[in-house]
């Protein structure tokens, strides 16, 4: 029984790892194998993860391991620890990875580097599953960092473009910066608990053997902030959108960024020992939530909106953890994984059809909705879930977070300071407002174009506006049939992911459904927060809609330097064109129908640039390091080299001095000889005494 589960648990990360090894080795020599090697092992792995989850059942756990290596002090073990959290998150990872692999077979159909891409996605999947299933902290770190490097390679997939080159290195370095204190936290944890095994660490926490819980928690939070893109280490995530869209869906929405949240959830008993750490986490979450929502409201690139949205939603999960409730956090993690992946994948289809990332450019393309109807509908569903409108999954999970915060704020949660609860609650509500606002903005601006000519006419005119444009390009039409804007391989994952987006939320209602897999804490939203949350979301949506109407009416002047006209085709499509571009109805001089300037006012420009955090990093980190590097170069060339040259100078000088004695005159030599002999005689005479 146990051996079978253990075998399943070992196979789940192992299969994608073998697939990636195979893909990397045979990518060039056997390109036909690339697609099966990408999809089939991931499918198998997902199936096995589901099987394991079913086998374990709610409340079941699996533990086991063997020693990986002695170290001289605390040994490192290769162990498994699978409980309800791990089992469900593994299922999420498996399903999303499958969807992404299938989607990529079509999205990257003409990409010459598809094989290495798919292999790296498989490697990433294996690493994430290792993180989820691992029972030893150092082995978890291995998976953690391997995910980071896969993210680096995948974000840099389009290395021909400067954006991808810069974004990939930024992503890796920012997360690595957080990983160093994280490692120190693990050291402290391992030293105090005497073992790196998670079960031992949790026992030590329960027994009170951890002597520095605040320090440990703060150090671990650094790594979590880096990996889960929380303030102040969140700046890499928006830039990482330079990678292909399926990568964003997998890595930067559903899995890697969730790893930090998963770790805190896993080690929550350690965090609960320190109120100060929870307050810090709450502050971090609050700042992240509100700040990212404001930034999302100002972005023009559809992927950047979703990226900032991810940052914000991760802030929600962090907030739930700060309120001491990991069930709510993981609930939101799973639903967010589903609907954010859905949003990214549908955004990919939309980008492909529109040939641009910019929503204001899409605002000039009538007929986008009819060209990619499936993407439009699934995107709508995803945005509804994101905004937290009942009865979609996002509503339930967001409400559970707010309920948890409410419990903490009223002092009902043991070990959690009330301040943390209040902070998360208030920030959560504000963010809910802003989230609904930017979700509505995205939907309206991208999918409901208004031109000056159509403004007066009603909706039917839009059909005629679109149709002639299509007829005018018969080649495009034929081309569109041969390469539909929404091939099946792209559509099916969308609808697959739409199911949990709609339905998953309901599973939190009954205590013997989802909560049984977790700690058993109720995931039902309380009435106050439910009503408050929904009202706030509707308020945000309504406010945005009003602002949009005014913008469409031409009353808004977009200030310079913000989202204006679209620029070059995004990197995604540089190699694989998919279908003809939609004709734009050019109306020179008319500003983009973007409600953001109206909503944000003077905040628009800074929000579009990420509220200045990047500049702060440049001043505080990049410039000093560059200066130090120049200093070292100078030191090496002048100072250290100077010492070496000086060491050579001394013998040369001594030699010169000695050579001066060789003057060619034998009489001086003999004089020296005489002097020496006299000296020796004297010495002998003195010593003999």
């Amino acid at each position: 029984m146990n051996a079978m589960s253990a075998t399943l648990a070992v196979l789940v990360p192992l299969l994608p790892f073998l697939a990636s090894a195979g893909g990397l080795l045979t990518g060039r020599s056997a390109p036909a194998l690339a697609r099966p090697l990408a999809v089939l092992p991931t499918l198998a792995s997902a199936a096995l993860a589901i099987a394991l989850a079913v086998r374990l059942g709610p409340g079941g756990t699996l533990d086991g391991g063997t020693r990986l290596t002695p170290t001289g002090s605390v040994p490192i073990e290769l162990s498994l620890h699978v409980d309800g959290f791990a089992a469900l998150i593994a299922v999420l990872v498996g399903v999303v990875a499958c969807c992404v692999q299938v989607y990529s077979t079509s999205y990257l159909r003409e990409d010459p580097r598809y094989a290495s891409y798919a292999a790296l996605v498989s490697l990433f999947t294996a690493a994430m599953l290792l993180v989820v299933y691992s029972g030893d902290l150092i082995v978890l770190l291995v998976g953690w960092e391997v995910m980071g490097i896969c993210s680096y390679f995948l974000v840099g997939h389009h290395w021909e473009t400067e954006d991808a080159r810069a974004a990939s290195i930024k992503a890796f370095l920012v997360t690595k910066l957080g990983d160093v204190p994280f490692l120190f936290g693990l050291f402290l944890l391992g030293a105090d608990a005497g073992s790196f095994r998670i079960t031992d660490v949790l026992h030590a926490a329960a027994d009170g053997r951890l002597h520095h819980p605040t320090l440990i928690a703060l150090l671990l939070l650094c790594g979590v902030a880096g990996k889960s893109a929380q303030f102040p280490l969140h700046t890499w995530l928006p830039d990482a959108m330079a990678g292909p869209t399926p990568v964003s869906a997998l890595i930067h929405a559903a899995t890697m960024v969730a790893a930090g949240i998963y770790l805190v959830a896993r080690l929550l008993p350690v965090f609960l020992l320190s109120g100060a750490a929870l307050v810090v986490l709450a502050v971090m979450a609050a700042v992240t939530m509100v700040g990212s929502a404001v930034c999302a409201l100002a972005q023009d690139d559809i992927k950047r909106v979703l990226a900032y949205s991810t940052v914000g939603q991760l802030g929600y999960m962090a907030g739930a953890l700060a309120a001491g409730n990991r069930d709510a956090a993981v609930f939101h993690l799973i639903t967010h994984g589903a609907f954010k992946a859905l949003l990214f994948l549908s955004a990919g289809v939309v980008i492909h059809a529109a040939h641009t990332n910019s929503i204001t450019a899409m605002a000039r393309m009538p007929g986008l909705r009819t060209k990619v109807p499936d993407a439009f509908w699934t995107m709508t569903l995803g945005l509804l879930a994101l905004a937290g409108i009942p009865p979609f999954s996002g509503f339930f999970s967001k409400e559970s977070v707010l309920t948890a915060a409410e419990h903490a704020a009223t002092g009902e949660t043991h070990g959690v300071p009330e301040f943390a609860g209040w902070l998360v609650l208030v920030a959560g509500l504000v963010t809910a407002l802003l989230t609904a606002a930017y979700a509505t903005r995205l939907w309206l601006v991208a999918f409901w174009p208004r031109t000056a000519a159509d403004r007066a006419a009603a909706d039917p005119a839009e059909e005629t506006g679109g149709a002639p444009a299509r007829e005018a390009d018969p080649h495009a039409h034929a081309h569109a049939d041969a390469h539909p804007a929404e091939p099946a391989a792209m559509r099916r994952p969308l609808w697959l992911l739409a199911i949990p987006t709609i339905a998953l939320g309901v599973t939190g209602l009954r205590a013997d459904w989802l909560p049984a897999w977790f700690d058993g804490v109720s995931l039902r939203p309380s009435w106050t927060t439910a009503v408050l949350g929904t009202c706030v979301a509707l308020l945000g949506a309504a406010g945005c809609w009003l602002a949009w109407r005014r913008a469409v009416a031409g009353a808004v002047q977009a200030p310079a330097g913000t989202a204006a006209l679209p620029d070059e085709t995004p990197a995604d499509l540089a190699i694989a064109p998919g279908g003809p571009a939609l004709p734009e109805t050019e109306l020179p001089g008319l500003p983009a129908p973007d409600p953001a300037p109206l909503l944000l006012g003077p905040l628009l420009a800074p929000a579009a640039r990420g509220l200045g955090v990047d500049r702060l990093y440049d001043r505080c980190v990049v410039r000093p390091v560059t200066a130090a590097a120049s200093l070292v170069r100078f030191l090496d060339r002048e100072v250290v080299e100077g010492y070496v040259q000086g060491a050579g100078w001394l013998p040369r000088a001594l030699g010169w001095l000695t050579r001066r004695a060789q003057n060619g005159n034998p009489q001086s030599y003999v004089s020296a000889l005489l002097a020496g002999s006299v000296l020796v005689v004297l010495l002998v005479a003195v010593i003999a005494r």
Binding site: R652, W656, R659, R660, Q662, N663, G664, N665, P666, Q667, V670, S671, L674
Partner: protein, 129 residues
């Protein structure tokens, strides 16, 4: 007579010879002073031999050796001085400085291996590996 007389005389002769070796400029005079030093040593040897009543007469035997060696040496030395005088026109010791090491001629990289792209130089100066 007392040992002191020949000993002091030989010391005085030796010092005079020493002065001559160190201070005279003419090579012939230097050689003459070397002879003086050698003869002073001879005198000392004979004096001590007599005073110590040595049965083997080691001192006197050594004196004979010294006289022979001095004769050979002065013959060679004078021949060299003569040839130098014929070649250079001077027998001034101060001017015969060919064995001097003038710092300017010695280049700093005498010990360095041959520079890049050049084979080892065959002249005597380069002591490269």
């Amino acid at each position: 007579m007392h040992l002191a007389y020949p000993t002091v005389l030989s010391v005085l002769l030796f010092c005079v010879g020493l002065y001559g070796v160190l201070a005279r400029r003419n090579a012939v005079l230097v050689l003459m002073s070397v002879e003086l030093m050698l003869n002073a040593v001879n005198l000392d040897l004979v004096a001590f031999d007599a005073w110590l009543h040595d049965t083997l007469h080691a001192g006197q035997a050594l004196t004979l050796f010294t006289i022979t060696v001095a004769a050979a040496e002065i013959g060679l030395g004078l021949a060299i001085v003569l040839m130098v005088f014929r070649a250079r026109g001077t027998a001034d010791v101060d001017r015969l400085r060919d064995l001097a090491d003038d710092g300017a001629a010695a280049h700093t990289d005498t010990m360095a291996p041959p520079t890049d792209n050049q084979p080892a130089r065959p002249d005597g100066r380069a002591t490269a590996a």
